[in-house]
């Protein structure tokens, strides 16, 4: 797998994603500066990492969404290329309108860092192809703006299109208010575009890809991408 991780001013999970991808699935990963206009040739996966691009000033992800590299990423996504946005990367993808919705301040107005459980709602995406439907993954969240919001009509639409890939849940997979850490609409933790090749999620798979870190469940997402690419899957 040839992956690149985009570095914006203020990104702070870029090195973590690079470490995780290169150790877990032996990916050939490079860092890509936000001012670039092109992606490296034969890129299999683009990751927008977590962090505080532009200090989260104005709105999280808003300024990063105007960076030159986003044009290249839009073109790449239109061609079916795989794009994954984690945390701040998810916020950037919604601001760039590559994904529906917006991420607002957590319901309790505080930053929340803790281990969370999310349920895989789809297994027919490149990012979840190795999972079982309903499988519960444990991954940490760490954000201040993670409340996923969509106007009611738009919500109906993404539900109809089955664009919800992950929902916050209890350890046994049930979904209720108690398991919703930030007040997200419908417990949504991750959504995919209609084409099924651009995924955004708030939990951090790269922080849950090694046993020593308390969970390896995030690694299943890297494994899914790797085996999907190996099979020559196309979106």
């Amino acid at each position: 797998m040839k992956a690149c991780v985009v570095v914006f001013p203020g990104s702070n999970c870029d090195r973590d994603v690079i470490h995780s991808l290169s150790t877990r699935v032996k990916a050939n990963v490079s860092a890509l500066w936000y001012e670039e206009h092109k992606l490296p040739q034969d890129t299999d996966l683009v990751v927008l990492p977590g962090g505080f691009s532009y200090g989260d000033y104005l709105r999280c992800g808003a300024m990063a969404a105007t960076a030159p590299i986003l044009n290249a990423i839009k073109g790449y996504a239109e061609g079916g290329g795989l794009v994954l946005g984690i945390c701040n990367g998810f916020q950037i993808l919604t601001e760039a309108r590559l994904l529906p919705g917006a991420l607002l301040a957590n319901k309790n107005l505080k930053f929340i860092c803790r281990q969370c459980a999310v349920r895989a709602e789809r297994t027919d995406t490149p990012f979840t192809s190795n999972l079982q439907t309903g499988q519960v993954l444990k991954m940490p969240i760490a954000h201040h703006e993670g409340l996923y919001f969509l106007p009611p009509n738009d919500l109906k639409q993404i539900l109809a299109n089955k664009q919800v890939v992950f929902r916050y849940c209890n350890n046994d997979g049930t979904i209720d208010d108690k398991s919703n850490p930030n007040g997200s609409v419908d417990n949504i933790a991750g959504v995919i575009n209609k084409g099924g090749n651009v995924l955004g999620l708030m939990p951090h798979p790269e922080r849950a890809s090694e046993k020593i870190l308390g969970s390896e469940d995030g690694g299943l997402i890297w494994d899914s991408i790797a085996s999907w690419l190996k099979k020559g899957g196309r979106c």
Binding site: P9, C13, F52, C113, I212
Partner: protein, 716 residues
Amino acid sequence: MNYKAVGLREEEYQAIKELLGREPNESELRILGVMWSEHCSYKSTRPLLKMFNSEGKYVIQGPGENAGIVDIGDGWAAAFKVESHNHPSAVEPYQGAATGVGGIIRDILAVGAWPTACLDGLFFGKTPRNSTLSLMDGIVSGIGGYGNAVGVPTVGGKTFFDDSYEGNPLVNAMCVGIVSQEKIITSKTAKAGQLAVLIGSRTGRDGIAGAAFASAELAEDTKSSKPQVQIGDPFVEKLLIECCHELLREKLIASMQDMGAAGITSSASEIAAKSGTGIYIYADKVPTRDENMTPWEIALSESQERMLVIIEPENYERVEKCAQKWLLECAPIGEVTDDGRFKIINNGKTVVDLPAEMVGGGCPEIHWPSQKPAYLESIETERAYTLPQDAFRDICLSIISDPNVKDKSWIYEQYDHTVQINTVVGPGNPVSVIRVKENNKFLALTMDCAPWSCWLDPYNGGAESFLKAARPLWACGAEILGMTDCLNYPSPESPENYWILTETVRGLAQTAKDMDCPVVSGNVSLYNESPGKKILPSPLVGLVGLLETMEEFLPSGELEEGDVLFLVGPKKGFLAGSLFQRLLDKSIQGKPAQYTPTAEISFKERALRTAKDKCCSSVRVIGSGGLVTAIAKECVFAQKGASINLKSEHLVPEVLFGEGGPRAIYSVKPDKIAIFEHIWQDFGLLKIGTVQKEKTLEFLGLSSFSLLEITSCWRR
């Protein structure tokens, strides 16, 4: 201008005139007023700090630089330091705490290390008044707001509650960084002809004379002190870390200093003094944010997120390009010279001309009068405590739900503690553990303090402050590499305060030395008083230990069903200053734990062997709230029940709630009891119970609690 207006004492002013052979001009006086303040010069505590031993087999760099550095093997090193930001946090909690975090991270950056983990020591008032709650809220969000954005995980720390901190909270931020031993940067390596470059934010009027502010008691109306508080920008700090590390990788940095207290003046003069050179700063070349700043304002501004970098002049373009890449201001503001002078030149005119060594190092020491406080004579005797059986239950529940004991997740869940993917054991545990990716080893970190013991018995309280931080490290199997400390005290000008300060430092220094732990960095914060109130003596200790592998790590809170629970160490702890006494009497008296070096060394050796021999599932050193609290916490974390069966002679407050001294509970695997008993024989060893299937915590002959009851009481 009068010397008193800048906070100088008469003898200091005389010393200045003598050193200069003339009267200082106004700018020089303002600069020396700040640089010779307590905060920058350590004039009251320098004689005391000499008591600390800073040498040891792992020490690469002791005190005097931005951070202490210890060897962690394979050519790698850990740099660490703790620093206070007490006064700014009292005045403006969010920004005060945020800039405290920013400052300590830049200290670690300045030695060339990558900031890897933060810990925080927080001290708050205990009575939940609105003012205390909003201070707490502001300080916690400030620490999170800054550390989270910069991408340095806050992996641990310690929080204390006592009404002596009401109105004068303490914020002590510690940072640990990793650096290749070959790439350590020092302030000693500047050479004449090199360029001084300022990278980071523009310079404004923020925090002018903030260091002097930190050296006086807080005025009644803290609002009037507000303009001195600096505003932090974690986004710029993150860019600064990235930029400096890019410059380090390209080997463009000859020397470097962060700009903290006293801004350009302290960073530039320190480089010159340590390198044995001079330095000229051109005030008109400093990019400013405010208009019409005077040269002395520019020289003393404490605007955040700035670094002073010394480079070869021919490299300037490359440095500037890198700064631009990271959206940072960059300006050549001065030059290193060979005349030993610290000069500030504005539009061709020299406005400050001082010997570089005098700026930071010329201030004469102050030997404050010292006198043993009268109160110490009267509080030595302690009343006898009995334990009515029907009161046991209520006491247990009050202790478990006391802010000093109960769950702190409402604090640490506001901190990103998993970024950088090194956090193996995070906050909420007695020891935090981070992985070092560079050499596949692990650092075990603790922070602790024994303020109440320090008040009752300063020497032994100082010792206990060290031991409280050290024992959990030994118990988990880590070898201690070094210590940093933050000495938080009230005004040294009171002879009684000064005596307490001296005695606690003596106890702390002696214990660290006896336990073979070098003190490699630290910070002093005095004048922690508000009207009518002064803080308890609070020497906060931060320790860094090494674990070769996680195989050698013995965790806490991991009881296994069928394990046998043992108490090691003296059966009785001390009630003087304990949480038990504080809750019952609302005041403290008596003699707390007395430091016994041989017992501690013996505990250390046996604890390390216990971890190595893998005969236990879990360990918890007995701390705040005593044996009962330690058992309750083990049960809550493991979500396992336990049955505790003590002889009636042990059903006394000293055994159940006593604190201090080398005591711990071990959860021993049933087939390894012989090994365990062998290790601890002749030390003090008592079988106290078993881990059981039923989700209850029973104290036979006293009371029984459901696990749910204890858990919700602790979490509430």
